[in-house]
Structure formats: C-alpha cells, structure tokens
C-alpha cells in the first residue's frame, strides 16, 4: 500500500463561496490517478460534507488527504467549539445550523451520517472548546 500523494488544504470559516474547493481539488486528483468512478464519487461526497461542516461549525481548519494506491485517508481538523454530544450529532435530521445557513440549503442534519455512509473507516474525536478531528478512510475496492 504505497503512498502516492499527500495534500493539505486550509479551509476558511464561513466562506461559503469557496466552500468545497478542497474537495473539488481532491476529486480532480483522483480522476487524474484513474481511480474508479464510484470510489471518486464516494470520496468527493464524504470530503465535501466534512469540509462544509468545518466551514459552518468548525471555524475553518485543515484538511489533510493521503492518497494510497488503493485507498484514501482524509483528516479534517478544526479548532472550533467542539461537539457536545457526538451520538446526537450522528443522528439523521439533527442539526444546529442557524436559519441563515439553512437558507443556503445546508442544515439538513445529514452531513455526518452521509460521511459515515460513504466511508469504510470513520472516527470522530471532539473536545469542547478545542475542536473536532474527523478521520475517514475509503477503500477503492470496497
């Protein structure tokens, strides 16, 4: 499982115009590396949801992407307020998004469940007042 590439992106807080730029860049890279179409789609959706969470809730942060021959590992780390109840945050339909965020089409309460659904490995660590770190792995052959 040789590592092919490592990429790092700074994700800005509350910057909805630029939100998704990191995910779009990763999608282009995976296409260039000729990964399977379904795998690229799963990775894109999972990373975009995570990136949007960082923009909306996390005050921005760092997205680190490790691309291997047969999988991708994505770490999204923010220094935001943290998640008080991860189990609750994982429930479909639960959202703390404000009305202004909902007007943009976000806040369905599907972000974290969508990420978990697309990922083969999913770990979320959060500390109140310090931030949240989400680590996911997607296997190209699953």
């Amino acid at each position: 499982m040789a590592q092919v590439l490592t990429q790092k992106y700074v994700v800005g807080a509350d910057d909805f115009a630029a939100a998704g730029a990191a995910s779009a860049a990763v999608k282009k890279t995976l296409k260039q590396l000729s990964f399977p179409v379904d795998f690229i789609r799963r990775t894109s959706i999972a990373m975009y949801e995570g990136e949007i969470n960082m923009v909306i809730h996390g005050g921005g942060g760092i997205a680190s992407v490790e691309i291997y021959e047969d999988c991708v590992k994505i770490t999204l780390a923010d220094t935001g307020p943290g998640i008080p109840d991860i189990e609750q945050a994982m429930q479909e339909g639960f959202s703390t998004a404000t009305d202004s965020i909902r007007e943009l089409g976000f806040g369905a309460g599907m972000g974290l469940p969508n990420i978990k659904k697309q990922s083969d490995e999913f770990e979320i660590i959060s500390e109140i007042g310090k931030g949240t770190k989400l680590t996911i792995t997607l296997n190209a052959n699953s």
């Binding site: 939100a19 975009y48 949801e49 949007i52 089409g105 806040g107 599907m110």
Partner: protein, 107 residues
C-alpha cells in the same frame, strides 16, 4: 438519453454550457445534504437552489444536469462556475412535478 436530448424534449432554457452527460434518472430536493445522500450519479437534479454550493454539490455527486423549475434563473457567478466545472444548468417555466412527469415519460 443525453443532456441535450432531454433539454430539447423539455424545451429547456440553457443557462450554462456543460458536458454531454448521459441521464439515468431524476432527483428532486433542495436540502444539499439530502441530495448528497440520496441522489445517484447521472441523475437530473431539479432544485430551486441557485448558490455556488448547488454547483459544488452537483459536481461532487456526479449529477448530469441541473434544472431550475418555475422560471428560476441563476446568478452570473453561479453560471460562470458551472461553465468552469462543465455542469449544464437549465431553467424551465414548468414546475418540478411537471418536469418529473415528462422526464419519467422520456427515460
């Protein structure tokens, strides 16, 4: 059926130039995470969302084209972004329901 064939049949107004994708089915929703979790690749997506995030979601989810119903149009910056990404966006005076019925007949 391809995007341009669909556009011709439904008499859609083209807002952005995009790739000539194949169309498999149709998905209607306006909550972006709902779309990311529920749509399939090569769907037509009917939505009233006209933000840059709509373009990003469509691209991430491999949507074939977006149709804005009820005469809705998109801002210029959104159209330019869609052109960059190769995402075809169309507008129609018909409702989402009318469009879905017609798409169902065609596919």
């Amino acid at each position: 059926m391809t995007v341009s064939q669909l556009a011709e049949n439904l008499e859609l107004k083209k807002l952005s130039n995009g790739d000539e994708n194949e169309i498999n089915s149709c998905y209607i929703a306006d909550l972006l995470s709902r779309v990311l979790g529920g749509c399939n690749s090569n769907d037509v997506w009917i939505t009233v969302q006209t933000s840059l995030n709509m373009v990003a979601v469509a691209v991430m989810a491999d949507i074939s084209c977006v149709i804005l119903p009820e005469g809705i149009t998109a801002p210029v910056n959104v159209i330019l972004k869609a052109n960059d990404e190769g995402l075809p966006i169309y507008s129609s005076n018909k409702s989402a329901y009318e469009l879905a019925l017609m798409i169902g007949e065609l596919l």
